[in-house]
Symmetry: C2
Subunit: 295 residues, 2 copies
């Protein structure tokens, strides 16, 4: 093996040996089947691009109205043949109708053109696995149903957090101007100032490199300036509408288990020999959300 690989392997995935605290690998190895879940195909969105597929899991427990409207749009084949229109470095990739707002814009048909915002929800009955973290933007952070979330009190509000890979709904100045017909994925450092100001509806669980490596748009805010730069969307489908053989066989680590707590702590307290000055700290968007092929 090349020395150079060894160097960085040592940096990033050192072997645990005789340590008191388990590493993330140790934790995952000790997991049992019930620590994993198979996401519901009815909440999985498959976006086919010419160069690859992006698979997302939606979060109806945070944004039921928007998920329902996206379901209508997808049912209408709204996205098929539309395009990725924006790629801004260290920020977002965005897609929708390049002609939106013009006379030849594609109609939403039976889907709504605007929706009440779902920037947050009531926290009272929401399962919420809080993690200890000094967060710049929220008084409490944790996970709910597999998604990173913030909370401002158990009886107050809870909201999804703009970590890398999260899926959001573009909107105009009016809070109700989003519909799900224009969507974006975070492809840079978490833009947390958007939290509670946009409806987040899910996250990428596979294939994000098909978005994050797109050439950056040279227009303002990373919009593609020329039609030729647009990246065509072949199709968008829900998993439940795909033949079984075409579905992604994936399991996601549950976020409401003791194993997940251990994983967070393994990433907070880096016991690997490589670390000479571990921070004993963790940020919400630095917590990995492991997946593995399902059998």
């Amino acid at each position: 093996m090349r020395y150079v690989s060894l160097v960085f392997l040592a940096l990033l995935a050192p072997v645990a040996a005789g340590q008191e605290r388990p590493t993330m690998s140790d934790v995952l190895e000790s997991s049992s089947p019930s620590d994993w879940r198979q996401p519901d195909p009815a909440n999985m969105l498959y976006m086919e691009l010419e160069h690859g597929r992006v698979v997302l899991e939606l979060a109806p427990h945070f944004a039921p109205g928007h998920v329902a409207n996206i379901r209508q749009l997808v049912g209408n084949r709204y996205f098929d043949g539309l395009a990725i229109i924006r790629s801004q470095d260290n920020y977002v990739v965005q897609w929708g109708d390049p002609n939106a707002g013009a006379e030849d814009a594609r109609l939403h048909e039976n889907a709504a053109d605007s929706l009440d915002p779902e920037f947050f929800r009531n926290a009272e009955d929401l399962p919420f696995a809080k993690i200890e973290s000094r967060d710049a933007y929220a008084s409490e952070v944790g996970f709910s149903g597999g998604f990173p979330a913030g909370r401002d009190g158990t009886k107050g509000r809870a909201w999804l957090i703009h970590c890398y890979g999260m899926l959001g709904v573009g909107r105009g100045t009016s809070p109700d101007s989003g519909s799900g017909a224009e969507l974006y994925v975070v492809t840079g450092h978490a833009p947390r100032h958007l939290d509670r100001n946009v409806t987040l509806v899910g996250r990428v669980i596979d294939g994000i490199e098909n978005l994050s490596t797109l050439p950056r748009g040279t227009g303002a805010l990373g919009f593609f300036e020329h039609v030729e730069e647009h990246v065509p969307i072949v199709s968008v489908r829900f998993g439940s509408d795909l033949p079984e053989a075409e579905r992604l066989q994936i399991e996601l680590l549950r976020t409401d288990t003791e194993i997940f707590n251990q994983l967070v702590e393994a990433r907070r307290y880096r016991s690997e020999e490589w670390f000479v000055d571990p921070s004993d700290a963790i940020g919400i968007c630095n917590v990995p959300l492991p997946s593995r092929p399902s059998k």
Copy 2:
């Protein structure tokens, strides 16, 4: 203008109108020439790739030993003809000698093979513009000489922070095993657990998209599995060794000015009409570091 652009323009760069607090645009417009600086060509590194150029500013006030060694390596033309060997999504792009450690590895000549770590420095005499931010990883965060930095007390330690675009020195398990012959740039959410465990030596100030859009490596940790995937480095030079005409004409906003304080506050308190629930908070890696063409 297309509606879709308007939508997201509204989201991301709304027009300030009759607000109490200035926006970032307002702040930048009110800046004077002395709020800007031209980085020293002797501390600017130009990496030429076949598809574009990446320009970095080094930070000798944090890592004098490593910057000096990189100067030797570059003087020896060490990097010319080597390659980018790794691209890991939401993490780093890394370059160096694909044959490092093997018999045909390129020699460092008069440059050191290993160096004392510069993971942090004495904070006592370091100019440090602290910003108020609840940071998960450091008790104090701010800027020093144009770079994001952490501090654990005015007489204690200070260190560069792994924000997007920062340049670091790969190393093995031994803290002194880095030399600057193997370098990486952060191309994802800030991996803050690396702070104070790696020597950071600078940051990208132009052309980061030439790194961040590279295809991801399919090997472990994003290493390229096949030689054909390697991205050749045409050359690496210091700005002071380039003809004036080939140098990047750029000015960077100083980080030790009242204008910069105002910029931080404009990003903390989002007064634009678009924001319905501003967080009144900011993270250290969410502070923009503006640049503009110099005259």
